[in-house]
C-alpha cells in the first residue's frame, strides 16, 4: 500500500508539473493569474488597505464630494464624498461573493443533473431531466435572471439566486455530454458487471472524468458571473445602496458623465480588468487540460 501511495503521489506531482508547464507557456494566462490573485487579495484585505472603511456604509461628507482623482483620493470621490477606490475594493468583495454564490449554487445542481442524465442515458430519467434543462435554456440567462429578480426584493442574495437558476443548465449540459459518452466506455461497463451500484459508478467513476471540464468552466464562469452580477447591479437589482456594487456604481456614475467621469470610468475599469483576468486564466486552463500527451 505504501509503495502504491508514494508512486501515486509522484504521479500527481508529475501531472501538476506538466500542467503548470502548459499553463505557463501562455504568458497572457500567467498575467491573468497574477491579476486575479491581486484582486482576490485586495478584496480579502480591503479593510486593511484603505483608511476610509466607513465610506462603504452610510457616509456623507459633502465638502469632499465630487472630487476628481487626487493624492488623498486616488480615484476620486462620488456624490456623497465617499472614496471611490475604497468602494471599488469593497465592491470586489461583493462581486466575488456573488460569483461564488452563483457558482456554488448552480454547479452542484447542474453537475448532478448532468451526471444522472448522462448515466441514465436514453431512459426516461434522461429525457425528463434534459427537457427541464431545455425549458430553462429557452430564454437567455440574463433575461431570465432579470425576470426573476424583478419579482423579488432586490438584494445580493436574490440576484445570486436568480442567476443560479439560469446558470445551472450550462453545467448540466456540459456534464451530460461527458457523462453520456463515458457511459459506453469500458470502465463503466466493467464496473456494472462487477456489481457496483449506480451511485458508486456515477460519483466515483464518471465524475472524475468530468472534473477537468467542470474546473475549466468554473474558472471561466467566475468572470461571466461577475459580469452578469454587474449587469443586474447596473439596473439596481443587486446589492442596494449604500453597499457598493460595481454595476450600480457605473450606473450612478454614468448619469453624471462627462463632468464627473471618474465616478463611472473607474468602476467600469474594475469590472473589465477582473473579467479579463478570468478570461485569460480560462484560456490557459484550456491549454492545460487539452490532450494530455506530453
Amino acid at each position: 500500500m505504501r509503495i502504491l501511495e508514494s508512486k501515486w503521489r509522484r504521479h500527481r506531482l508529475e501531472s501538476l508539473k506538466k500542467g503548470w508547464y502548459k499553463f505557463s507557456r501562455n504568458r497572457l494566462s500567467v498575467l491573468g493569474l497574477c491579476v486575479i490573485v491581486m484582486i482576490v487579495l485586495a478584496a480579502v484585505f480591503a479593510p486593511y488597505l484603505t483608511p476610509y472603511s466607513e465610506h462603504v456604509g452610510p457616509y456623507l461628507a459633502f465638502d469632499e464630494a465630487k472630487e476628481p482623482p487626487s493624492v488623498k483620493h486616488p480615484l476620486g470621490t462620488d456624490l456623497f464624498g465617499r472614496d471611490i477606490l475604497t468602494r471599488i475594493l469593497f465592491g470586489y468583495r461583493l462581486s466575488l461573493l456573488m460569483a461564488a454564490m452563483v457558482i456554488g449554487l448552480s454547479a452542484p445542481v447542474g453537475v448532478v443533473v448532468g451526471l444522472l442524465a448522462g448515466y441514465f442515458h436514453r431512459t426516461w430519467i434522461d429525457r425528463i431531466l434534459m427537457r427541464i434543462t431545455d425549458v430553462f435554456l429557452a430564454v437567455p440567462g440574463l433575461i431570465l435572471a432579470l425576470a426573476i429578480t424583478s419579482v423579488l426584493t432586490p438584494n445580493l442574495t436574490n440576484a445570486a439566486m436568480a442567476l443560479s437558476i439560469a446558470w445551472w443548465t450550462w453545467f448540466a449540459r456540459l456534464v451530460y455530454g461527458v457523462a453520456s459518452s463515458c457511459r459506453s466506455e469500458f470502465f463503466v461497463r466493467s464496473a456494472e458487471v462487477l456489481g457496483e451500484r449506480w451511485p458508486h459508478i456515477v460519483f466515483r467513476e464518471i465524475l472524475p472524468n468530468c472534473v477537468s471540464v467542470i474546473f475549466t468552466k468554473i474558472s471561466l464562469d467566475v468572470g461571466w458571473a461577475i459580469l452578469a452580477g454587474a449587469s443586474l447591479g447596473f439596473l439596481g437589482l443587486g446589492a442596494q445602496p449604500p453597499t457598493p456594487d460595481l454595476g450600480s456604481m457605473v450606473a450612478d456614475g454614468s448619469k453624471h458623465m462627462p463632468e464627473l467621469w471618474w465616478m463611472a470610468v473607474f468602476p467600469a475599469l474594475a469590472i473589465v480588468i477582473t473579467v479579463l483576468g478570468f478570461n485569460l486564466i480560462g484560456d490557459g486552463l484550456r491549454d492545460m487540460f487539452a490532450i494530455e500527451e506530453l
Partner: protein
C-alpha cells in the same frame, strides 16, 4: 428528409420549452410578494378601483385558472392589458418591437460581418503581429459588458467628440416616414425619405456597436481557433500539394469547415445580444422592446412581463432554428446522416 424531421423535432421541443417557461414565469410573477395592482393605481386610489382591476385580471381566481385565461388570450393575440400604460400589451409590443428589431439586425450584421473576417485573418496569420493585435482586442472586448461600452461610447463619441447623437432614433426635426413595418430604415427606403434613412442609421451606430463588440470578439476568437486548427489538418496539406493557390484554399476549402463552430455559437450570441440590449437601450434611450421590458420588470407589470419573456423566448427559438439550418447546410454529416 432526415434534416426536416430533425428540424421538426427541434421546433416541437422548443415549443415545449416555451410552454414550460411561460408557466414558470407566470407562476413566479403571480406569487410575488407585494401588490402590483396597488402599486399601479397608487396609494390614494379607492379600494374598489383596485378590486376592479384585480377582477379584470382574474387575480382572484386560482392560479391554474389564471393561466388558462392567459394562454387563451395569448393564442388569440391578446396578451392582456398593461397595468401601467393601460393599453393592450400587444399594442405596446407592436410599437416597441420593430425598434429593437432594427437595432438587433444591424448588430448581428456587425457581429458576423466584422467578427468572422477578423477571425479568419487572425487565424491565417497566427502568431504574427496581426494575430496578436486581434487577440488583444478580442480579450478586452469579450471582457467588457455592453453596458460599459455603451457608457464609454456615450461619453467619448457623443459628449466629448459630438460625432454621434446621444439618444433616440431620429432627430427631432426630421420627419418620420409613414409606418409600414415600424422599422425606420425599411419604411424610409420604401417611401423614399432618404434623409430619415441616413439619420436613423447615424443614431444607430453607437448602440449597435456597443451591443456588437463583445459578440464580435467572441465570434472572432472562435473563428480564429477554428481556422488555426484546420490549417494544420492533413487535407489542407494534401490540397496544397496540388498547387491549389493559397487564396482559393483560404476562401473556400478552409473557410467552409472552419465556419461550423462560429455559426453554431451564433445562436448563443443572439441570446447574449438580446440580453444586453436590455441595458444598452436603456442607456441610449432607444425606444425599444428591451427598454420597455426593463421598465415593465422594474414596475412589476404582470401581463407585460409574461408577454415580454414569451416574446424573447420566441425570438430565441427562431434564431436557434436559423442557426441549426445554417449549420446543417455547412456540415454534410448532419444533412445526410452517417453513411
Amino acid at each position: 428528409m432526415a434534416s426536416l424531421v430533425f428540424l421538426g423535432r427541434r421546433i416541437g421541443l422548443s415549443m415545449l420549452g416555451l410552454i414550460g417557461l411561460s408557466l414558470l414565469i407566470f407562476f413566479i410573477s403571480r406569487v410575488l410578494p407585494g401588490d402590483p395592482v396597488r402599486m399601479a393605481v397608487g396609494p390614494r386610489a379607492p379600494e374598489w378601483v383596485a378590486e376592479n382591476i384585480r377582477e379584470q385580471m382574474h387575480l382572484d381566481k386560482p392560479l391554474l385558472v389564471q393561466y388558462y385565461y392567459w394562454v387563451r388570450g395569448a393564442l388569440r393575440g391578446d396578451l392582456g392589458h398593461s397595468l401601467f400604460t393601460r393599453r393592450p400589451v400587444s399594442r405596446d409590443l407592436k410599437e416597441f418591437l420593430p425598434a429593437t428589431g432594427e437595432l438587433a439586425f444591424f448588430t448581428i450584421l456587425i457581429v458576423a460581418g466584422f467578427g468572422i473576417p477578423l477571425g479568419v485573418v487572425a487565424g491565417r496569420y497566427a502568431n504574427s503581429w496581426i494575430d496578436n493585435l486581434v487577440r488583444i482586442f478580442c480579450y478586452y472586448s469579450v471582457s467588457t459588458p455592453s453596458f460599459i461600452f455603451a457608457t464609454l461610447f456615450l461619453l467619448l463619441f457623443s459628449h466629448v467628440l459630438d460625432w454621434f447623437p446621444t439618444f433616440g432614433r431620429l432627430d427631432m426635426n426630421i420627419l418620420r416616414p409613414p409606418a409600414v413595418t415600424g422599422m425606420i430604415t425599411v419604411d424610409s427606403l420604401i417611401s423614399g425619405h432618404f434623409a430619415a434613412f441616413w439619420n436613423t442609421l447615424w443614431h444607430m451606430v453607437l448602440p449597435a456597436f456597443s451591443l456588437a463588440l463583445p459578440g464580435m470578439a467572441q465570434l472572432a476568437r472562435i473563428t480564429r481557433s477554428s481556422i488555426h486548427d484546420n490549417l494544420g489538418k492533413e487535407y489542407i496539406a494534401f490540397e496544397r500539394g496540388f498547387g491549389i493557390p493559397d487564396r482559393l484554399i483560404m476562401s473556400k476549402f478552409l473557410l467552409k469547415p472552419s465556419l461550423i463552430p462560429p455559426v453554431s455559437i451564433l445562436g448563443l450570441e443572439v441570446a447574449a445580444t438580446l440580453s444586453n440590449a436590455f441595458l444598452v437601450e436603456f442607456i441610449f434611450g432607444w425606444p425599444g422592446f428591451s427598454r420597455y421590458g426593463i421598465n415593465v420588470m422594474l414596475q412589476k407589470d404582470l401581463n407585460a412581463m409574461s408577454a415580454v419573456v414569451l416574446v424573447v423566448g420566441v425570438i430565441f427559438v427562431v434564431a436557434n432554428i436559423f442557426v441549426d439550418v445554417a449549420v446543417t447546410f455547412l456540415n454534410p454529416k448532419i444533412r445526410l446522416g452517417t453513411g
